[in-house]
Amino acid sequence: MSDTETKEVPYKPTSPNSKLDFESVWEYAPAPQTSDFVEVKDRYDLFIGGKFVKPSKGRYFKSTNPATAEEVTEFAEATQKDVDKAVKAARKAFEGEWSKISAKERGKYIYRIARMLQERAREFAVLESMDGGKPIRESRDVDIPLVAAYFFYYAGWADKLEYAFPGKKPKPLGVCGQIIPWNFPLLMLAWKIAPALACGNTVVLKPAETTSLTALKFAELVQDCGLPEGVVNIVTGAGQTGAEIVNHKDIDKIAFTGSTQVGKIIQKSLAGTDKKYTLELGGKGALVIFEDAPIDQAVEGIINAIYFNQGHVCCAGSRLLVQEGVADKVIQKLKDRLETLVVGDPLDKNTDIGAINSKEQFETINKYLELGVEEGADIYQSKCDIPENGYFIRPTLFTNVSQSNRVVQEEIFGPVLTVQTFRTADEGIEKANNTPYGLASGVWTDKGSKIFQMGSKMRSGVIWANTYNKFDPTSPFGGYKESGVGREGGLHGLAAYTKI
């Protein structure tokens, strides 16, 4: 069939109204998840040496629910003195009790954590959505099950480390300073803490200032598990607290997940020292859709790639590269699909897209939306209703963009997709690789050999072929180029926590 013939075939979706139409054909009844069974204290202290302790300067900061802009609780601000105390507790535990426990028993503690997380999964899911704004559907079905899975997976490595590193006898590094972002608060905690403990290290972890709640709930769980005091320490605070961790002299390793910009500052701060580090940084993932791709599946994949978790995903597929012959069709289907996405209350089980995590991020995304228009792109946003309070952004796509546009080159970290076209596979590869990032890419085609060729030519740490945004504890994740150094997950993720 020639190109022109393809275009002449009328587009026929299978709905009665020729489109999925939630205005007049169907509507969802509200399905709110109850939250009355979870307990949130008015204020949370720091978790150091197995106990909750007040911050030395007595300062606290508020945490808001981004879906309502109402206050949820208060977190303590850890200053230099507090970080020092936490590092001392971690060092003491590392040299003392934790090092005396055999690897087999160490693993059992991590298994305990995994089990207890599963038992309290619903509570953690609700808290994650309340504090961070992500849809309960995602925190319930993706985040929390994965959190437990990461602890399970790494628990089993604890007494098998010599099999992970052929020819070596791995030893722990010591005290690990870990700084995690606000997009997957508990999942990132699991990615950091599980492998660190499995290798016999102790940790000082700082959650993001807007989403510290589940980390402190996790601290309560650590107490319940009877983990020796000081093995896990959690200090809350913003950038300054993070800097105290990075610059602390008695920390052996820094693990950071966050923006490339902050990652570079951290790498610079560590210059001249012998501290080890892993950096999981930003991305600008390309989605390459070939003409022979199963188009409906590809459209579903694109939706999942960019609108999952409001687009607050470092590996989000934020650049669509679609082969010319199917571009109109894909764009039309995408627009239709956008109209069906439910934006709203994160605690409603029907919600697809929740609240933007903070006022600050809300403003950043809006700035990019303006910038895209200024750069000459055509903007399309779904026409859905959004709540009056809180921080919400309609799923957006930009067409008519060029490779040099800032909305194409820079990470927006929101529900914003740019759409470009390409003719040949080589052009697709060229465009896919043409940013400083290299975290993840997607490719959709019906042809296996094309998948392998594209997969090997695209310079990124993860390739999702005919799928997107899948995670698993056994699967290594991390970036090429400016998307970071090192891997997390799988046995490659262990290497970052051992001396080999």
Binding site: A149, P166, G167, K168, T260, G263, K264, I265, Q267, K268, L270, A271, G272, L279, L281, P436, I451, G455, S456, S460, G461, V462, I463, W464, A465, N466, T467, K470, D472, T474, S475, P476, F477, G478, Y480, K481, E482, S483, G484, V485, R487, G490, L491, H492, I500
Partner: protein, 289 residues
């Protein structure tokens, strides 16, 4: 009329893209033997030379990294063959700079053996360090190693042949291309080694060797935005080390630093040395009807 024959002295140039150009700067510096006699005028490589070399290395990357593992192993073995064949040349290089005959022999032997050690890893490291990952969902998921890209390196100052070989080979065996700054005091064996590379089957541009001063070039090595990784194995002055590490953060360069005193030791060769210059790429594909 005397019968005395005047020997022909070699002009030592640099090695870039399979050619032996002089420094574009026209500068040279004097290189002495252990008795302080002049051996040669070595090129004093400049920032421009380095930038040219990186461009050449980037150009060679696609071709080299897409060669088969078997082919790269063969080529590495071929370098060893060439080196074995030119033992005398290197005896003459190492002798004047203070290597006793037995030491020079040991150095050359170890260099050849090192080449063969890594040649053997070429088609094996992927099997040992790659993985199939048993994910819980219905996907086929595997991780392969891929070369990081263009690597800049300071060759070890005190081991002008064995140290140099020990740095270059683990970089290129995994498909990377590189730009190496030779030992500053003893750059000549590096250029002779370039002749070995050039007469083996290593494509031009895979290895580029500059001679010159670390102090002058370290900033350019570490700030270049198209260099993906940098390695140094000597203990550098704290100031230089710090500045290299800091500059690396401009484009999140991988910095590999591992002080190695003894290039004959066990720690001087390892497949883990090779994996320092590899990225892990994980691919997911749905499984089903």
């Amino acid at each position: 009329m005397s019968d005395k024959r005047i020997d022909v002295k070699k002009t030592y140039k640099m090695y870039m893209g399979g050619d032996f150009p002089r420094s574009e700067s026209g500068r040279t510096y004097k290189v002495y033997d252990s008795e302080k006699n002049l051996l040669a005028n070595a090129c004093q490589g400049s920032r421009k030379d380095f930038r040219d070399a990186v461009k050449i290395a980037r150009g060679a990357f696609d071709g080299w990294s897409s060669r088969s593992a078997y082919n790269r192993g063969q080529i590495l073995y071929r370098i060893a063959e060439m080196l074995e064949d030119r033992r005398d040349q290197f005896m003459k290089e190492l002798g004047p700079i203070g290597f006793k005959t037995s030491e020079a022999e040991a150095d050359i032997n170890a260099s050849i053996d090192r080449l063969i050690y890594y040649a053997g890893w070429a088609d094996k490291y992927q099997q040992v360090f790659g993985s199939i990952n048993p994910v819980a969902s219905s996907h086929f998921n595997f991780s392969l190693l891929e070369p990081t890209g263009v690597v800049a390196a300071f060759a070890p100052e005190k081991s002008p042949l064995l140290g140099l070989v020990s740095i270059i080979v683990p970089i290129i065996v995994g498909g990377n291309t590189c730009v190496i700054l030779a030992s500053e005091d003893h750059p000549l064996p590096a250029i002779s080694f370039a002749e070995v590379l050039n007469s083996s089957d290593v494509p031009g541009g895979v290895v580029n060797i500059l001679t010159g001063f670390r102090k002058e070039l370290s900033e350019h090595f570490s700030t270049h935005m198209d260099v993906n990784a940098m390695i140094y194995t000597d203990t550098l002055p704290q100031e230089m080390k710090k500045s290299i590490d800091e500059n690396a953060s401009l484009n999140v360069k991988r910095i590999i630093k591992k002080p190695i005193e003894d290039w004959y030791s066990e720690e001087a060769q390892s497949p883990y040395f090779l994996t320092n210059f590899q990225e892990t790429k994980t691919t997911w594909h749905p499984v089903g009807f």
